[in-house]
């Protein structure tokens, strides 16, 4: 074997096609150059194996999987959506795919908003009169003086008996409809009214007690009664480009934070609500559903 043959032999050896035979050993014993060449090749090979072993457990961060799974859900959901509504595909070519991943964030935002509402309800729960504390279930915090929220219906809440509390909520479902809408809510409803027909072409029966543009927003399979939207953000909220309506269930204790009457005995129960979310994930307004 000569030096040139050693080069070929090294390549074959690296590929596993050649072994260490006597002729190679003899040449390497005589030729320092080739011996060094072989040692270098073996060192490089060992180093590569060490690198491969070192990196064997390296993997992508967990959030990549979460992102891809969300994208997968959006993709499959979008596909099903598209299959069922080919006519409206032209109107929303890619927005559905981009919009769906935001839903996870939006859902988290709704959950955060609910938590904030509950906390606020606990914090601002008004102190009941002393003569009713014996019969009513009142939390320790309610005994402390707390700012009294303005009830939208004009009723005082904590001191109301159960029937009165129901009456207050019922009043909210009817009387609030006649209250002038704030600019934010009007804008929201206008937007949703314009958006919904494109995304929901089905025509379930309109809700009972609907008012103006809310008819379009609140279409549901079952006849439902809803209150007017109550803004959740101050006037400095970013403009609403688009959004969606998300149905949630709130503890009744959250009603106090919305300025509605609350029966303390039923504070542990839940009530349905629609939260209007902007595409930025910010909850803009809420309404109650019955």
């Amino acid at each position: 074997m000569n030096c040139q043959q050693v080069e070929t032999w090294l390549v074959e050896r690296a590929d596993g096609a050649a072994g260490f035979d006597a002729t190679a050993a003899q040449h390497l014993a005589e030729c320092m150059h080739c011996a060094a060449r072989v040692r270098a090749a073996e060192s490089a090979s060992a180093a590569l194996r060490a690198l491969a072993a070192e990196d064997a457990e390296v993997a992508a961060p967990a959030h990549v999987e979460a992102t891809l799974r969300a994208a997968f859900r959006a993709q499959t959901g979008g596909a099903a959506h598209t299959a069922s509504r080919t006519s409206s595909r032209a109107a929303l070519p890619t927005a559905t795919h981009r919009f769906m991943p935001r839903r996870a964030f939006a859902a988290l935002t709704v959950a955060a908003a609910i938590v904030l509402l509950v906390v606020a309800a606990q914090h601002f729960r008004p102190a009941p009169p002393a003569q009713q504390t014996a019969g009513a279930h009142v939390s320790p915090q309610s005994a402390a003086p707390a700012p009294q929220p303005q009830p939208a219906s004009g009723h005082d809440d904590g001191a109301q008996p159960s029937a009165a509390g129901q009456q207050s909520i019922a009043h909210a479902f009817t009387a609030q409809a006649s209250r002038p809408q704030s600019g934010v809510v009007r804008h929201i409803m206008r937007h949703v009214a314009h958006r919904r027909p494109a995304t929901r072409p089905l025509e379930p029966p309109p809700m009972v007690g609907s008012v103006g543009e809310m008819i379009i927003v609140a279409r549901a399979p079952d006849a439902e009664r809803v209150t007017e939207f109550v803004p959740l953000v101050a006037g400095g909220a970013p403009p609403l480009a688009s959004g969606q309506l998300v149905r949630v269930e709130l503890p009744r204790s959250a009603l106090a934070a919305l300025g509605l009457a609350l029966d303390p005995a039923r504070a542990g129960e839940t009530i349905k609500a629609d939260v209007l979310l902007g595409d930025d994930g910010l909850a803009r307004a809420i309404r109650l559903v019955r």
């Binding site: 040449h27 180093a47 590569l48 690198l51 491969a52 993997a59």
Partner: protein, 204 residues
């Protein structure tokens, strides 16, 4: 262990396309590590590796019809997407400049460049060894680097590497031989010998 975990990539992808998120998750978990490591070893950047891994699967999701199972395994297809992503990133960012532009022409004309006067790694600790070889791999030209990463680090066969690199098996073989030789040089360059040792060429 569920039957899903025994399914091959193509079966998992077929089910994923039908909306089975579990199958997609299994497929991702099976292949993400290799793609991430490939991108990391090619770029030297964890951020790039993360992006490439995510984008490879996103491409698969966005354009599922582009994968044709009759043309090759999904594994090679994913590697191919990752490779294109990495090469695009490398072209944009160029984090590593080839040490010698003359690698392609005239190198080792006298054959002495392959002479390693001493074993540069003999006295390396394990971490130093790994760091040195990682750096050496990163200094290789991209078309040599990828063949080293695929064939040496990821242990792909020549045929698989050829499919990923969209070239002939012979090209893979020749590039790999050249890449190995260059790697020896890079290792020596990164860890120079403390003292020169004269080497003599044998004419036997």
């Amino acid at each position: 262990m569920s039957a899903s975990s025994h399914a091959n990539d193509e079966e998992l992808w077929h089910r994923a396309r039908a909306g089975d998120e579990h199958a997609f998750t299994l497929l991702y978990r099976r292949r993400q590590g290799a793609l991430y490591r490939f991108a990391w070893q090619m770029s030297g950047s964890a951020a790039v590796a993360e992006d490439v891994t995510q984008e490879s699967f996103m491409t698969l999701l966005r354009e599922p019809e582009r994968y044709d199972a009759t043309r090759g395994p999904l594994k090679a297809y994913l590697y191919g997407i990752a490779r294109r992503q990495v090469l695009r990133r490398l072209a944009q960012e160029r984090p590593f400049v080839a040490l010698a532009a003359e690698d392609e022409a005239g190198e080792h004309a006298n054959g002495t460049a392959h002479v390693a006067p001493h074993d540069p790694l003999a006295d390396c600790a394990e971490r130093e060894l790994v760091a040195a070889v990682r750096q050496a791999v990163l200094t290789l030209p991209a078309h040599y680097r990828e063949v080293i990463v695929l064939c040496e680090l990821h242990e792909l066969s020549y045929a698989e590497a050829a499919e990923v690199m969209a070239c002939a098996v012979g090209t893979v073989r020749s590039r790999l031989a050249r890449a190995r030789a260059l790697l020896c040089e890079r290792l020596r360059a990164l860890r120079p010998a403390p003292a020169e040792v004269e080497a003599k060429r044998c004419c036997a």
